[in-house]
């Protein structure tokens, strides 16, 4: 691929947007325009690709417009959007993750030019087509490679997620996320974050909680019902019995498939994709069952971090993942506080009995 093809490329490797407290479009590198028009690569067929569905409000920051919608209604909201059509939105919480996916694609295309095993980002929004031009202008402005979208004009996007064989759906609407989970699609709710710390620009890092994210919530139920001691006993006793799978297991699997493609070209030590397990389980006792379960599924995780109940924040700060999935808002909020892009997987027993957050917030009052 030529050096001029989209400013995110350098001669050697990907240039993942490093998001600091400075807005990314102020980054000088973003201002580069290709000097010669190059042919855009064709999007892969949905059944071959790893499809990530993102809603408009997680890809871009539409807080102001959302307020207009809530306070003044749909017609005013549409009017505002159309009036500001040429004004691009600023990045939302999923933006850096999407940029990182594109950078991985660039590398995959270099190594396997004929393969369709790539990430494909599809914009899945409830918005009416009136907002379409502003969204397209924004995608152009940020030079994102998004060619597919569904603007459903108020209808549910769930059917379209299935039609695209969506592997992961990210949205600001917890109801849609829950609906997707019920249909067997990995999904998580994202929130606008005040602080987003800088992330690696050479490696896509994805971090997962264990119970009720990669694994089912079966053990968490035991902990909630019978307490910690019983939980440890149970896990030790069932060490060799694999846990049931959780909603994000298949997404980890998809990442693993792409990782193997890099390994195949000798890029194991510095693989452009790295995965993490960040769990409250402890290495000494309950951790073993988690690792054995992954092994029984034929899945690898690059780093398993057993916190034995300690807060996840400091560990996440060390790892700096592009995205972190957890089923408990307590952890999601904790991660957001240190600037990790964290999303909530509304699945399992924790949803019925929310743990109070650091700021004494409960799950139900999560920002949309």
């Amino acid at each position: 691929m030529s050096q001029n093809n989209r400013d995110t490329l350098t001669a050697r490797g990907p240039d993942l947007t490093s998001i600091s407290n400075r807005a990314p479009w102020e980054d000088a590198r973003m201002k580069l325009k290709p000097s010669t028009p190059t042919r855009k690569p064709k999007p892969p067929k949905p059944e071959n690709a790893i499809t990530i569905g993102v809603s408009a409000r997680v890809l871009f920051n539409m807080e102001k417009e959302q307020q207009i919608y809530k306070q003044q209604g749909l017609e005013d909201y549409i009017k505002y959007q159309v009036e500001h059509e040429t004004q691009p939105f600023s990045p939302g919480p999923a933006f850096s993750f999407v940029k990182a996916l594109e950078a991985v694609n660039t590398q995959l295309r270099e190594l396997y030019p004929d393969s369709e095993e790539l990430f494909d980002v599809v914009l899945m929004t409830n918005n009416h087509a009136y907002v379409g031009l502003r969204l397209i202008n924004t995608i152009n402005h940020h030079q994102l490679f998004i060619e597919r979208f569904c603007m459903t004009g108020g209808n549910s996007p769930i059917g379209y997620l299935k039609a695209y064989h969506t592997n992961l759906y990210l949205s600001s609407d917890p109801d849609k996320v829950r609906e997707a989970l019920e249909e067997g699609i990995a999904a998580a709710t994202m929130f606008t974050q005040e602080k987003i710390t800088e992330v690696s620009d050479t490696q896509l890092r994805v971090a997962f909680d264990g119970d009720a994210v990669l694994f089912s919530d079966e053990s968490e139920r035991i902990y909630k019902a019978h307490g910690l001691e019983k939980f440890f006993e149970h896990e030790k006793a069932h060490e060799n019995k694999p846990l049931d799978h959780g909603p994000l297991k298949c997404f980890l699997e998809a990442l693993g498939k792409l990782q193997k493609k890099f390994y195949g070209k000798g890029q194991r030590m510095d693989c452009p994709i790295r995965t993490y397990l960040v769990t409250a389980r402890s290495a000494a006792s309950s951790g073993t069952r988690a690792l054995k379960t992954l092994r029984s599924w034929g899945l690898e995780i690059d780093e398993a971090l057993f916190l034995a109940g300690a807060p996840k924040g400091p560990m996440l700060e060390k790892i700096r993942p592009h995205i972190f999935f957890d089923d408990q808002m307590f952890h999601v909020e904790g991660a957001a506080e240190i600037g990790t892009v964290a999303c909530h997987v509304p699945y399992g027993i924790s949803q019925a009995m929310p743990k109070k957050g650091i700021n004494d917030k409960e799950t139900s009052s999560a920002p949309k």
Binding site: L74, E75, I78, A129, N137, G153, Y160
Partner: protein, 256 residues
């Protein structure tokens, strides 16, 4: 020979304002072979006619003297159905369909019947018929063979055909298409964003976001604002189409 019978049960629409939609009777009624007097079974176009009727009802609710309404005419061109003309008319009455007139013609001159009746859109399940009508400058579309279950009239524009290459002069059929879209756009503007009895949906199959964006802009410049937009960029169409549930698909030259 072409003959037109007006339906006296239905208030006739204003000729120069109404959007005349012609549908083949074969698509609306399944009359079967027998000569009995029984009411015909309904065909694949029946939900479409009900949806068109609902749009008219809502338009009149907004404005009782509205003249931009759908004017539905039934075209019967095959001899078998011609013999059932009285059954067709009585079935129309029975099902309470708002059909303004019945046009009977032979297979050879059914296009004449379309032109005589100033048809803006011709709907059929027969691809050849649609092609023939299109050649004569009548905007034609294929009916969705699968019965659409939505109450709302859902019209899908295949956007890859919206952008005309300026090199070619517009064909009569393309002009007809454009004026139909403009009429639909005007009709859609009679209603608010929510709870509209019709929804205009743009679907671009081949191009990416740029071609979808251009289509949106082109349509808007012609006074047609879309409710929904889908850019497939080469992804398979049929799973998306089955979710969109269009009553009919508007494409330029009946390709793909």
């Amino acid at each position: 020979m072409v003959s037109t019978i007006q339906n006296t049960d239905v208030k006739q629409k204003e000729a120069d304002r109404a959007v005349v939609v012609a549908v083949t009777s074969r698509a609306v009624f399944d009359c079967g072979a027998d000569d009995g007097d029984e009411v015909c079974e309904v065909g694949v176009a029946f939900p479409l006619l009900q949806a068109l009727q609902r749009v008219n009802e809502r338009l009149l609710e907004e404005n009782p003297s509205e003249s931009l309404l759908f004017d539905v005419v039934l075209i019967t061109s095959d001899s078998q159905q011609q013999q059932q003309s009285s059954r067709i008319i009585s079935s129309t009455r029975h099902h309470g369909l708002e059909i303004s007139s019945f046009c009977f013609s032979s297979e050879e001159d059914f296009t004449e019947s379309l032109l005589k009746n100033n048809v803006h859109l011709f709907l059929t399940t027969d691809r050849d018929e649609a092609a023939q009508a299109s050649q004569k400058g009548v905007f034609s579309a294929l009916l969705n063979g699968k019965v659409a279950s939505s109450e709302q009239l859902r019209v899908v524009f295949c956007g890859d055909a919206v952008i005309r290459t300026d090199a070619e002069p517009p064909s009569a059929s393309q002009d007809a298409a454009q004026s139909f879209w403009a009429q639909l756009g005007e009709m859609r503007r009679r209603f608010g964003m929510l709870d509209s009895p019709l929804s205009l949906v743009l679907l671009t199959s081949r191009g990416g976001r740029e071609s979808c964006g251009t289509a949106l802009q082109t349509l808007r410049s012609r006074g047609v604002n879309m409710d929904e937009a889908y850019s497939l960029a080469g992804a398979p169409r049929s799973p998306i189409l089955s979710l969109l549930r269009p009553h009919f698909l508007l494409i330029n030259h009946l390709q793909d």
